[in-house]
Amino acid sequence: MTFEPVLLRRWGKPNSQSIETYMADGGYTALKKALAMEPPKVIEAVQKSGLRGRGGAGFSTGLKWTFLPKDVQGPIYLCINGDESEPGTFNNRVLLEEDPHQVLEGIVISGYATKSTTAYLYLRYEYGDCYRTCEKAIQEMYAKNLLGKNILGSGYSLDIYLHRGACAYICGEETGLIESLEGKRAWPRIKPPFPAIEGAFRRPTVVNNIETMACVTQILDRGPEWFQSLGIPSENPKDPGSYGPKLYCISGHVNKPGLVELPLGITARELIDKHAGGVWKGRKAKAVVPGGISMGFLSADELDTKLDFAGPGKAGCLGLGTAAVIVIDDQTSMVDVLYNTCRFFAHESCGQCTPCREGTAWSAKILARIRAGQGTLKDLDTLTDISNSIGIMPGTTICGLADGAAWPIKNALKKFRPEFEEYITSGRRSQSLEVAGAH
């Protein structure tokens, strides 16, 4: 049975961004359903569906909403994270450019469920088209009383503000996003307090991903049971399972890169061969990034790993991340790949915590030296040491960016160590010291 896209069902349809076509396709019925329910019932439905956040960490969305304190006086804020900056990821962009109302409907539903008074949609600056489509869509919603005071006569009021970031990866970290939203330097906050207790403007705050909002719309529209019917059930009581459809971003050395929607749990091999036209130029995959560069690498032997929330972790990766699959063919040097990765994180480290600030830059310098033919085998041990000593997991940093910077190094040196050793001992140099993808 082939899976019919749900989140992407309106992608490519004429004028798919307009509220008229969206409503003609049955849009905003989910909102009406939600407004007829009590807010706790909406949270219950989302919890029942097993929806886990699509932003990277995979935390249960409904559970996150329940962390808000009860009987809050004053405003509650809903922040929607559209600072999609993980290399290889572009699902938020397609959702916002092609079908903004599906996301915005989810925001209003989520706002209603969490009793939020204001929603902030934080967009990365580079997404100019998203900004314009969203701005138009929000105006359309106000005109139809889908936003503003007393939405559809329900008594619930919500405003959505669009906020454009200034091109920093760290703004995707939820407390970095909040700081940036407040007009400050996006330095992630120390926790506790968690945003649910003290977030934006020191008020209770929920931060959710764009794709999560689209899922919320569909869960309310089609029911939690529909969502539960897709994906992979939990294997043990501690694992909340991987349910629902997921947008997989495929890029790199494949014949047909792009965005596909599939139930969670497809293997990397199936994704590449069936949905991306296979590896390009008749080559084989050497390594595959399972979910954005910060998640690490799957080796060619690990392509049968299921890309659900639990799968990549079993193969030694950090997790599913954003499900942005980057395919690296067998003609590519892993030294070059790792150099480019480290260069990215050195550039994007916010500079707050010492280990990440210095460790990321040092790793990039070491790899640059290796690529210049000046490496020694000892450098690989130093790199391993650095990667083991930065991150929230060993407890040496405030946020998870450092773990994301450490994991590609750990994976590459563990899974492709012979290639690094051969590169160093043979005295090879990379032909071009410059790597594509300036930032």
Partner: protein, 585 residues
Amino acid sequence: MSTVFINDIEIEVGPKENLVQAAERAGVEIPHYCWHHDLSVVASCRMCLVEVGEKKPDGTIAMIPKLVPACQTPAKPNTVVITNSEKVKKAQAQTLEFLLLNHPLDCSICDQAGECYLQDYTYKYGKAQSRLNEPKVQRVDKYHIGEQIALFTDRCVMCTRCVRFTREISGTSELHVTNRGSVEEIDVYPGEPCNNKLAGNVVDLCPVGALCSKDFLYKKRVWWLKTQNSVCQGCSTGCSIHVDQEENRLYRIRPRENHLAQGSFMCDEGRFGWKYIESEARLFGPRVGKLQAASQHQTAHVGNGSSSKGNGTAVLHEQAALNELATVDPWPSVLNATRQAIKSVVDSAADRFAVVLSPMMFCEEAFMLAKYIKSINKKITLALGPVPVVGEDDIYPKGPKGEPPAPGKAKFTIRAEKCPNRLGVEAILKHFQGEVINFGTITERLNSKKFDGMYLVGGYPEAWLDASVLSKLDGLSTLIVQDFMNSPLTDMATIVLASATFAERQGTVVNHAGLAQEVQQSIRGATDIRPDGRLLFDLSQRQGMYSAASIRAEMAKEIPAFGAFAGEIGELGIQLFTTVEGKSA
């Protein structure tokens, strides 16, 4: 109170304390850079990582698997902290390696060397060698960052203490972080240097040699400096300070933490405002008799700072040569003449003699002078000299438009009253005179020619009497002036008693809130000047040697208000009076 365990040491800690403070109580050092008890917690330097667990009621200990920053972790009851495990030591060494990666090896020319936490922690917790094989990040020093402060950018460890200080304590927000990652730097906005009145504190807050005081820069290696506890004389806040000197020369003043006085900081007025100690306009010896016309010219040349600019060194040399020649101590005859001069006025009409005490005096000095004068004749008037007030109290943190903070939110106050001991001197005057006669009353009485002689005590760093008062004083037959600075007043005096600055004296001052603190003598003055305490001790013909403590014991017996002087004052001082302000502070 709650009980925590630091490396198996059981210790009681207070509420709202973190693990760094708890460990300190147990005598265990947890190294840290970014944390400071007066600033917000950022937990970003990651130097204070420790292992943390909880002791359960059944005696078992559950440890958190990852390392935790001690500064961010509250000392809850039954917290178990391990600061010396292999895991912690490895993390400390690794953090230090990271911090030193791009740090220049310029300790030999760095002002901070000797009191640098990067040096100290590296010695205690670091590893000897860096594994960095790449070039270090090059950064440009920023001498322009403030009038009094310079930034050695490459030495910075990005603890952001300075940034938080300007945001949370001064409220002026000049400093910020620019750029990102390993190339980020502390900076100011273009054309807006960090020149607030508390700016000098960022130099003390900086745990490394990044922010340096331009005033002290390259003047002295800190390990040569000897330190005395003292009190700033700049205003009635009475900040506790350290006075750093070497070979009888003062080099630097730093705030001394005292929660009873000002807290952890001090203002730049006090920090840099001590240069008058080395002024060429200082008096170098006593004098009896009016200046002769010829020598008046010479004195004006020798002593008056304003007319002898550019010739100062020569003057000092000349003075030193004179001192060498003067093998006879001039003071016994000067003090004798002073006593005679007072007596001659008092014998004819005691109520036509007045003694003006200065709010710059220490309690012991004011007490000795007042007691001596009243022992001569009770009819002699005792009054208080001018109390300098400049503008209004300057309260921090400032708001975005420079406005003072809301009541109760003040973190530092530079007071308008620019003298250290008005309260102490007033209490002594109340005891001996029965009231405080202020200087306005004295000038009125001068105008109506009610005095034939006067004994004036100065001690102000700047000229303190205006021309109209001076012209009245000029007519007095006896004018005794006790001061350390040459001025038109000393020029017209019939007797000049050359006294000392606070750094050369010992005694006690009482601040705006009634807190009495002791000033220790840090340096010796010129050969022929006399610290006021010793001068007045000898003038009143007391037996033995002057010591502030013995005078305080005497005061405690004689004046109920100074009863607390019976005990030790201690480093932090003692609450002497309860003032309205003191209650609220």
